[in-house]
């Protein structure tokens, strides 16, 4: 990546609150015009990192560059960033128009310009004519839009969003996700989006940084994070992953062979960098890449088990299969459109789980 492409650059950023290290030596770049998500469980440091970008917290060590300029020590009111707060922080004593126009006063615009910009912003969030509404007359979703308009109307270089959809109900949240994505494409401003909802991060983002305990575990595109997680922690945080532990014994023609004890010999995609032969590895396979059948299939990885329970999701079902020697139940996703398996017959039955070696990967840590 060329330096000119990046709008935000973090260099060894750490932040401690007393003895608690919230952000621990984080370095990465965010590209211009990108929809970038910080994903992780609560307390992983993602919000602290966002607040460091916004200027509400200052890093204990390290450097933060926005558009090539170090912003360490620059207060929030002088930064080219704007933020959509988790609580939306709509000013309760101002109406919608005054909320949106709040940040324009500093820009020294003419009266006409100011009115035009507020009008455009209201169009953008699909609330034209709402200028006179009082803050308390707005619904949750409308407040979210006003907060968005208020931040965007200043035309920031980077828009920071702190779990902006967390307070909305599921249906509204899905609508807003779609709108947010379209909005970002239309205006082309870099979005940095904090969420603990992996599905939200996967659907919205160009790239995602998965965080845990103040560190970034992996930064990649959604598909790459899902298909090729770099560690067990990432694999288990994004979607669900079945893991079979064993010893790596050989690697030939792009396939690694693993002696997985009670599970027999398993093979998986061998990707560089390959761990040393003889080391302990996990063969990782996603639930939807497992097939469930009555007999083993030659040429594929096969494990025998028995169905414990079924979780029905409408379009698909998850079978949870107990496999001798495995600590946890193995999850198998089954598309109900192609259902060959009757649930009444499934539970308690001995079954074979099979998968092609190419759909499994090796994980070391």
């Amino acid at each position: 990546m060329k330096a000119a492409d990046s709008i935000i650059e973090l260099r060894g950023v750490s932040k401690s609150f007393g003895p608690v290290v919230a952000v621990d030596d984080v370095s990465f770049e965010i590209r211009r015009g990108e929809f970038f998500s910080l994903l992780g469980p609560s307390g992983c440091g993602k919000t602290t990192l966002l607040r460091i970008l916004g200027g509400f917290e200052h890093p204990t060590t390290g450097d933060v560059l926005i558009d090539g300029q170090s912003v360490v020590g620059v207060p929030a009111y002088q930064r080219p960033t704007n933020m959509v707060f988790q609580s939306y922080a709509i000013f309760p004593h101002l109406n919608v128009h005054d909320n949106i126009a709040y940040g324009l006063r500093r820009l020294k615009l003419g009266k006409r310009d100011m009115a035009d910009r507020v009008e455009q912003a209201l169009e953008l969030i699909k609330l034209p004519g709402y200028g006179d509404r009082a803050a308390h007359e707005l619904s949750g979703g409308q407040r979210q839009r006003v907060a968005l308009a208020r931040a965007l109307v200043r035309r920031p270089k980077v828009l920071l969003l702190d779990e902006p959809l967390g307070a909305l109900d599921k249906k509204l949240r899905e609508e807003m996700q779609l709108e947010l994505r379209q909005l970002q494409r239309t205006i082309g401003i870099t979005f940095v989006f904090v969420t603990h909802d992996q599905e939200e991060a996967l659907t919205l983002s160009d790239r995602i940084a998965v965080m845990s305990h103040g560190k970034t575990l992996q930064i990649d595109r959604a598909a790459a994070l899902y298909e090729a997680p770099s560690s067990r922690a990432v694999a288990e945080f994004i979607g669900s992953m079945n893991l079979f532990e064993g010893r790596l014994i050989s690697s030939e023609g792009g396939l690694a062979k693993v002696d997985a004890g009670p599970f027999g010999m398993l093979s998986a995609r061998a990707e560089a960098p390959l761990p040393a032969l003889g080391s302990i590895v996990s063969v990782a396979i996603r639930p939807e890449k497992l097939a469930i059948s009555r007999e083993p299939r030659p040429g594929l990885n096969s494990i025998e088990g028995s169905v414990r329970t079924e979780a029905y999701f409408g379009d698909r079902s998850h079978f949870y299969v107990s496999v001798p020697g495995a600590e946890r139940l193995v999850a198998v996703a089954h598309q109900n459109a192609f259902r060959s398996f009757k649930e009444s017959e499934a539970v308690g039955q001995p079954v074979w789980l099979t998968w092609s070696p190419e759909s499994a990967i090796l994980l070391t840590e």
């Binding site: 207060p75 929030a76 922080a89 000013f91 309760p92 709040y102 940040g103 006063r105 803050a135």
Partner: protein
């Protein structure tokens, strides 16, 4: 079952005990008699009318108003600054500082009065004027102002001020555009409350007022003359009425403030 009768009766007796004597004062103030005894003779406004010509009283009222207005403004400013320091910054020694500010509430006013008198006269050698009364009253009013304003400042979302900073306003402008309007009901409540406290206060004013009496001090001095008792009653009734009115208004504003400070999210 018997409690059903006893409890309301107890409540009623308690209220009579509490407010009976106070309510007798207005009753006697309208009675056309020099002596405050039953039976009442005739209804009259003359005690009230007499107040208008009582220059000593007018003078004392004037003093009290001046002290009251100044103290309420000073106390609100000091209380606001203290409340901001306590709620917006991680202040080392927050608890002891709060305790020190609240202390005048529990120190008996007589002791406070004597102590202030000794310091002002013996140590600092200051003349006793309305200024010294004001200083004493400030000590009593700041705890109240601070309490009202702390609860107001704690009541609203911190991210409102952060949002203002995010939208380009520095701390000073954020205070005037966000904090001040949202704290305004608390500020008004603090002004009214401090004014009432100062206006009614007797003990400190008695010690510190020198030759310029405030209204309560003047009132007390009039008790020596039995013939002036009815007009004192009239004056007392007026003070009672105005104080009650001011307190009710400040309480309404405070309540309304709490309504406005509630998080917006619950409104939908």
């Amino acid at each position: 079952m018997r409690f059903r009768l006893i409890l309301p009766l107890y409540a009623l007796l308690f209220l009579i005990f509490l407010y009976g004597p106070v309510l007798l004062m207005p009753v006697f103030s309208f009675n056309d008699n020099m002596f405050t005894t039953f039976p009442l003779k005739a209804f009259t406004f003359k005690h009230y009318a007499g107040l208008a010509y009582n220059s000593g009283m007018i003078n004392a009222l004037h003093n009290s108003l001046r002290v009251g207005f100044s103290v309420s403004i000073a106390s609100t400013i000091v209380g606001l600054l203290a409340a901001i320091a306590l709620t917006r910054y991680s202040l080392p020694g927050r608890a002891p500082i709060t305790g020190m500010i609240m202390l005048p509430l529990v120190v008996p006013s007589v002791i406070l009065g004597v102590a202030l008198l000794v310091i002002l006269r013996q140590v600092l050698d200051v003349e006793l004027t309305l200024w010294t009364v004001g200083v004493g009253h400030l000590l009593l009013c700041v705890p109240f102002s601070m309490l009202v304003l702390v609860s107001r400042l704690e009541g609203f979302d911190r991210s409102l001020e952060e949002a203002s900073a995010d939208l380009g306003e520095n701390q000073w402008m954020t205070f005037w555009r966000i904090t001040f309007p949202l704290v305004l009901p608390g500020i008004i409540a603090s002004l009214l409350m401090s004014f009432t406290i100062s206006f009614d206060e007797f003990v400190l004013a008695f010690f510190l007022s020198g030759t310029e009496p405030t209204l309560p001090v003047y009132l007390f001095s009039q008790l020596r003359f039995p013939q002036r008792l009815p007009s004192t009653m009239a004056l007392g009734s007026l003070i009672l009425f105005v104080s009650a009115l001011v307190i009710v208004i400040s309480e309404i504003l405070r309540q309304r403030g709490f309504e406005a400070a509630k998080p917006l999210r619950t409104a939908s």
